[in-house]
């Protein structure tokens, strides 16, 4: 187990290096003069020269890459061209917002998806089963940005049930401590604000959680069906155990293994989907951060934003792989 973990981490290093290299080369791959493109047509020669120097474009790429890597190891993610602030200083609030949204989305996806899958398998070929599978089919084909817009139209605008955009009520903003607002409001003992934050999380959480929910429901169902055919489940039934316990205790335990892999994969994919969800719901997360940087051609921010999210994605997958090996004693590495 330990040696597996070490080996798995060892395999990660070339991948992380490669990712960093791709992100690093982004700005150099821009056709023409990147500094000119960033500053626009009217820029003075001096300004272009200064920016070229600042971006290190006047030096050969290999020495600049070494420089970039050394910087990264010291926690230097570069400086935003727009705000002129080090990215590492301004990144956390955005990242926290994305993490909070992703956690809520995966929570919704797991709770609804796993239960829907279990009940579908339990009552196979019932109307409930068909309904869940139909919804799951539509769910995986749903463009999340459209789902988000529809939620806003029906839930917020037509019925005025939940807020459309943002993380908190602007009339009573949350005072950030950790920037995870659910935690902050509890730490401050402001339950009225906590409710507000929850209300703001529901719609984007559902939009972002729908695709993983559908995939988890399908996976749970097929995995449960397989387990429920096995001998020990027949034994459990034969000894007169209540069906509820057969399903939720005996079957679920074994059916969860493939489901956990899917959950891990989906948590990683959420980070990509978060970009779309955030732009719709005005959610001030990394997605919005990257999106705004693209609009203003703030390449250092685009680079670091992508690198941070991709690194997070890789680390989540690593964690899931190790967890997978840890919970399933049948797997030997």
């Amino acid at each position: 187990m330990f040696s597996y973990t070490i080996r798995r981490i060892g395999l990660l290093i070339p991948v992380l290096l490669g990712m960093t290299f791709i992100v690093f080369m982004m700005i150099r791959a821009i056709p023409g003069n990147p500094a000119q493109l960033i500053l626009g047509q009217q820029a003075s020669k001096e300004a272009i020269e200064t920016l070229t120097k600042q971006l290190g474009l006047d030096q050969p790429w290999y020495s600049q890459f070494v420089h970039y890597l050394t910087g990264l190891f010291q926690g230097d993610l570069g400086t935003s061209l727009k705000t002129r602030t080090p990215i590492s200083d301004e990144l956390w609030p955005y990242l926290a917002a994305t993490i909070e949204l992703s956690l809520v989305a995966i929570l919704i996806a797991v709770v609804v998806g796993v239960n829907a899958g279990i009940i579908s398998a339990w009552f196979q070929n019932s109307w409930f089963d068909y309904a869940v599978m139909l919804i799951a089919l539509i769910g995986v084909s749903m463009p999340i940005f459209w789902l988000g817009l529809m939620e806003q139209y029906f839930v917020s605008i037509k019925w005025d049930l939940l807020p459309t955009t943002g993380r908190d009520n602007i009339r009573m903003p949350v005072e950030a401590i950790t920037h995870l607002y659910l935690l902050d409001t509890l730490l401050e003992g402001r339950f009225d604000q906590f409710i507000e934050v929850v209300k703001h999380l529901i719609l984007p959480g559902i939009a972002l959680g729908t695709i993983p929910m559908a995939i988890i429901a399908r996976m749970t169902r097929s995995s449960m069906l397989e387990v429920m055919r096995s001998d020990y489940i027949r034994t459990a039934k034969a000894k007169g155990l209540k069906m509820f316990w057969v399903v939720y205790k005996h079957s679920l335990k074994n059916a969860m293994i493939p489901v956990i892999t899917v959950i891990g994969l989906q948590t990683g994919l959420l980070l990509g989907g978060a970009i779309l969800t955030e732009t719709i719901f005005g959610w001030p997360g990394v997605g919005t951060y990257i999106y705004e940087a693209i609009q203003s051609r703030d390449y250092p921010v685009i680079q670091s934003g992508i690198l941070v999210v991709a690194t997070l994605f890789v680390l989540i997958n690593l964690f899931v792989d190790i967890l997978y090996a840890a919970i399933d004693p049948r797997i030997k590495y």
Binding site: P143, W146, G268, G272
Partner: protein
């Protein structure tokens, strides 16, 4: 297809079924038989054909021009004259949704074709020659797969500049490692087969073996994965369009239509509803068809 199947031993493909009169049914025909029995798959095929017809016939079917602006007719609700209503420039949304099918399917098919060609070439090289070349190519695949796909697409487009063509290139790039890995693993297993040894023994050239034996044996999984990849490519193109990184106005791309209309969702919800339904239906069609193809072509891939 039948031609293809006859020249190669059926491997991953469903086993040929012997009939009473000793006629061998090609694996492709057999696959089509089980595909036909799958109702959901047939619904998917129906949806796909429907949208392909719409894409081809858009100029004939469309009642208006997709770009002519008539500000007097701005934000008209759906009616007999404008089935899906009109947008903020008075353009007929029904017409724009029809033309949008052309763009989405074109991006879907062309980008996936690109990924399949590049991915298969790299996968074959990696799998057949192995060693150092395999190591390098496989690492590149790992690295590309380590990015959340839409993020990598955004990175590529932010370098190349926003346009439909660049969005297509970005989507093609992010799908390359999927096909590359798939073909590589097929090559690795086919390589050990006896008929490959036989082909080598009679002095067949590497390139000939690759094209005549290895590639046809990778067809079934490529078709399955390709169909599913068209679905994600369509969603990704719409997502890039929605973010303003894909198609530019006045191109009637579905994602771009959503982005342009979202500010008017209160006055004119139909401007947002119909393009979204179009995206969802097309993607659903390809997903259903892909699932059906997987069940029909590769019984081992069934979950």
């Amino acid at each position: 297809m039948a031609e293809l199947a006859r020249t190669t031993p059926p491997l991953s493909n469903p086993p040929a079924v012997e009939q009473g009169d000793d006629k061998v049914i090609s694996p492709w025909k057999d696959a089509w038989r089980s595909f036909k029995k799958n109702k959901l798959a047939m619904v998917g095929l129906g949806i796909v054909i429907f949208f392909i017809l719409i894409a081809i016939l858009a100029p004939v079917l469309a009642p208006y021009s997709f770009s002519d602006q008539r500000l007097a007719d701005k934000h008209l609700a759906p009616s007999g004259e404008h089935w899906f209503g009109t947008d903020e420039f008075g353009r007929d949304i029904f017409t724009r949704v029809l033309y949008g099918a052309r763009i989405s399917l074109w991006v879907g098919f062309v980008s996936v074709a690109g990924s399949v060609i590049v991915g298969s070439a790299l996968g074959i090289i990696a799998g057949y020659y192995g060693k150092v070349i395999d190591g390098i190519i496989s690492r590149i695949f790992d690295i590309l797969l380590a990015f959340p796909s839409i993020l990598l697409a955004i990175a590529v487009v932010s370098v190349l500049g926003p346009s439909l063509r660049n969005a297509l290139i970005a989507i093609a790039i992010i799908n390359v490692p999927i096909f590359g890995r798939l073909v590589r693993s097929r090559v690795l297993s086919v390589k050990e087969e006896e008929y490959i040894t036989a082909a080598k023994a009679i002095g067949m050239k590497d390139s000939r073996i690759l094209i005549h034996h290895v590639l046809p044996n990778s067809m079934a999984p490529i078709i399955v994965q390709g169909t599913l990849a068209v679905a994600t490519a369509i969603i990704e193109a719409a997502a890039l369009g929605f973010l303003g990184l894909g198609a530019q106005p006045p191109t009637p791309e579905w994602g771009k239509m959503l982005a342009d209309s979202r500010d008017f969702i209160i006055q004119a919800p139909w401007t947002v509803i119909f393009p979204g339904i179009a995206i969802m239906l097309t993607v659903l069609g390809f997903n259903l068809m892909g699932d059906g193809l997987r069940d029909a072509l590769d019984p081992r891939m069934k979950n």
